[in-house]
């Protein structure tokens, strides 16, 4: 397989995962119900932009944080490389390049998704935001389901899944980062709605209850979403999957170069760190170094994949 094709596959996984995560984040942030005064309304929308890490790009384009501007920036703005539309657009471009090498159903699903997005306007979102983001999530789920049931378990599969789980780990950590900031900055009576919204956004509410019952605290939430071994959106779960797919890739590729070993070693180290976490690290007031380190590691891994693994000129964006 060509290096650039490998990287394109890796990014298909990342882009779809990113689009899904953003839809989850928006949907739930949208519905957090907080007894805040009216003038705090705009901070809800800026918090959302911050959670996705695009404040500079936003402020370059908009003067204030209104509902309509924020939602269309995060969802439909093709100029904003992190918008859902841009993610799907990129993923589809990559798929077009590779469509002859993949099950045709995958192309159909991605293409149908983008055609649907082409027709959406901010008014469509505002009409019924919950319904809109629900449909978005269903379409990412459709793509994933088709991939799961049609794609052969060879390097194509491992590449897409590596991208997916690296992206997932990073997104989960970013959400936790903004949650920790929020909790430290607000009265503990305000925590509950926020923690519940975060759990809902990651479809983690029921799984959390099974593990921790009524112990809904920032430390428990951090513990669960960082280190739960069976919940599919926890950071630990994502790193375990990532490691597995990188192994799969190693077995499947002819040349097992030095770069590959470095990426695998790094992934294994992070995974081990999460498996043997000290609980003090999860304390709300002491968790930042861990979260920052995880975000850094994700960045480094992404870089290592690019430099050492795909070893060619950048093709994305």
């Amino acid at each position: 397989m060509l290096n650039r094709n490998a990287e394109a596959l890796f990014w298909i996984g990342r882009y779809f995962e990113r689009a899904e995560n953003h839809a989850r984040l928006i949907d739930v942030h949208y519905h957090i119900q907080q007894t805040e005064t009216h003038d705090a309304a705009s901070s809800r929308w800026s918090r959302l932009v911050d959670a996705i890490g695009s404040r500079d790009e936003y402020t370059a384009r908009h003067d204030d944080f209104s509902e309509e501007d924020v939602l269309s920036f995060l969802t439909l703005d093709l100029e904003h490389p992190n918008s859902i539309y841009a993610c799907i657009y990129q993923a589809r471009s990559n798929l077009r390049m590779l469509r002859q090498q993949l099950p045709s159903e995958m192309w159909d699903a991605a293409s149908g998704f983008q055609l649907w997005l082409d027709e959406q306007t901010p008014a469509n979102i505002l009409e019924d935001p919950h319904d809109f983001y629900q449909r978005l999530k269903e379409q990412t789920a459709t793509f994933l389901g088709i991939e799961q049931s049609t794609l052969w378990r060879e390097k194509e599969w491992h590449l897409i899944e590596s991208g997916r789980f690296l992206e997932r780990a990073e997104n989960t950590v970013r959400i936790l980062k903004s949650t920790a900031v929020y909790c430290r900055g607000s009265d503990s009576s305000r925590w509950y709605p926020m923690l519940q919204a975060v759990l809902n956004s990651l479809s983690a509410y029921q799984a959390f209850r099974r593990r921790f019952a009524d112990d809904m605290s920032p430390a428990r939430l951090l513990e669960f979403l960082i280190a739960d071994p069976t919940f599919p959106r926890s950071a630990l779960f994502a790193f375990r999957e990532l490691e597995e797919h990188l192994h799969g890739l190693a077995e499947d590729s002819a040349q097992r170069g030095q770069g590959h070993r470095i990426v695998l070693r790094q992934t294994g180290k992070i995974k081990s760190h999460l498996e043997y976490l000290d609980y003090e690290e999860l304390d709300l007031n002491r968790v930042d170094p861990l979260l920052d380190r995880l975000i850094e590691w994700c960045d480094e891994l992404g870089g290592a994949m690019r430099e050492r693994y795909f070893r060619s000129e950048e093709i994305r964006v």
């Binding site: 949208y30 119900q33 009216h38 509950y192 009524d214």
Partner: protein, 500 residues
Amino acid sequence: MSKTGTVPGLAPYPLGPGFDEMYAGPGEVRRHYEHAHRIFSAMGPEALKRKQRAMQRRMLEEGITFTLYGSDGAARERPLERTIPFDMIPRIIPGEEWRDLERGILQRMEALNRFVHDVYHEQRIVKDGLVPRRMILSNRYFRPEMAGFRVPGNTYIAASGIDLIRHSDGRYYVLEDNLRTPSGFSYLFKGRTLMNQLFPKLCFESAIRDVDASLNRFLSALRSLAPSRNPDPLIVLLTPGSYNSAYYEHAFLAQQMGIRLVEGRDLVADNHKIYLRTMRGMQQVDIIYRRLDDEYLDPLTFRPDSMLGVPGLMNAYRAGNVALANAPGTGVADDKAMYTYVPDMIRYYLGEEPLLRNVPTYVLSRPEEREFVLERLHEMVVKETSLSGGYGMLIGSESTPEERELFRGNILREPERYIAQPIMALSTAPVLAGSGAAPRHIDLRAFALAGANGQTHVIPGGLTRVAMHEGSLVVNSSQGGGVKDTWVVDEPGLPSIEKE
């Protein structure tokens, strides 16, 4: 005050003699309704219909239904699965009004819990002559098996539903206490979720007291009742099964609280302990939140023909190895005749004046009260003391002479089975009907959740039930009633009253 007359979405309706929750006078919107009124008025009938359809679709998709079993004689193959009519205009209660209600409910629940304890222990209230002994002994829900038993956490009534109405004088009155297995929680929580999804802007801009944390309080209350020191107690919700009309609610609560939903056949008693049959073997159960009436709990103690319960459950309970929420025998306090004594219980046990009013109630086993009522049946509501859900009820003003004669005969034959109350004017609130808003009668079921040693939480707002037919006073879902989301709204800028 805002005046609107031109907008078809929410045109003012003519006011009746009762209290209207939204309008203080013709076209004059109460302050706490102004924002919602403005939003709904601006939407227009088409948009409202679209929202209503979306709401209906979601309720069907999510299976938010209850089951109606036919009693009409027609051989109905399949019981009807219905979505409950959900009206989208919220019922809004100002924060300060709610504070008074909340205090009143906490007071009432404390007294009722003490009363149940007293009934099954010293019976001081009987010895002191406040409540007649026969009222307890002849009570259908009195459980002699509970005598002398100290219940876990000293909490008999873990979950209760207090039904309140607002009379034409603008005051709230308690209509009845539901202290056995009250239902309606799921409509409350789900209703709020649906409203948040359908009207995000309106919900955002109103300072509504959060109800989601109440589910956590519910779970904490149940956990606190664990008789063992197990730090991670096993809680199950015991349901009669998927054919029960409230099965959706059972599944919802189990899912949201992360507790196991079980039927009697999933549990087994052994050596005075209750175990759950699981793939990993028998697991001991610490707390049973049961949605099964007393008499079905244990065929060895109660109804021997019950297939729904667990043989040996009461022995395990009395051995102190499992908690039951609510405790068996709480029904002795929610009987419609015992209701008349609740204000006295509050004075007797707490030495306080009741904060919530009772509806004047005539006990028909008392000859002079019976005579008084029989002379004016057409202006009375007559209820069977031990029935609920709107069954066995005569509303005088809406009855035919034949129906009144039937009740007169029944009352004379078994007077102790009946009570009567003057017909109270239920307040009205706007519902979306046809092409606009129309007034419908409503009540409020407030829920209190008590953990060990009287730690009690009242869910902010509760469930507003609506008589969906024009003029009707019956709000029970089994009788075609609907529901509304209920908001406790604090004035912007004012600090919220409840602090964790």
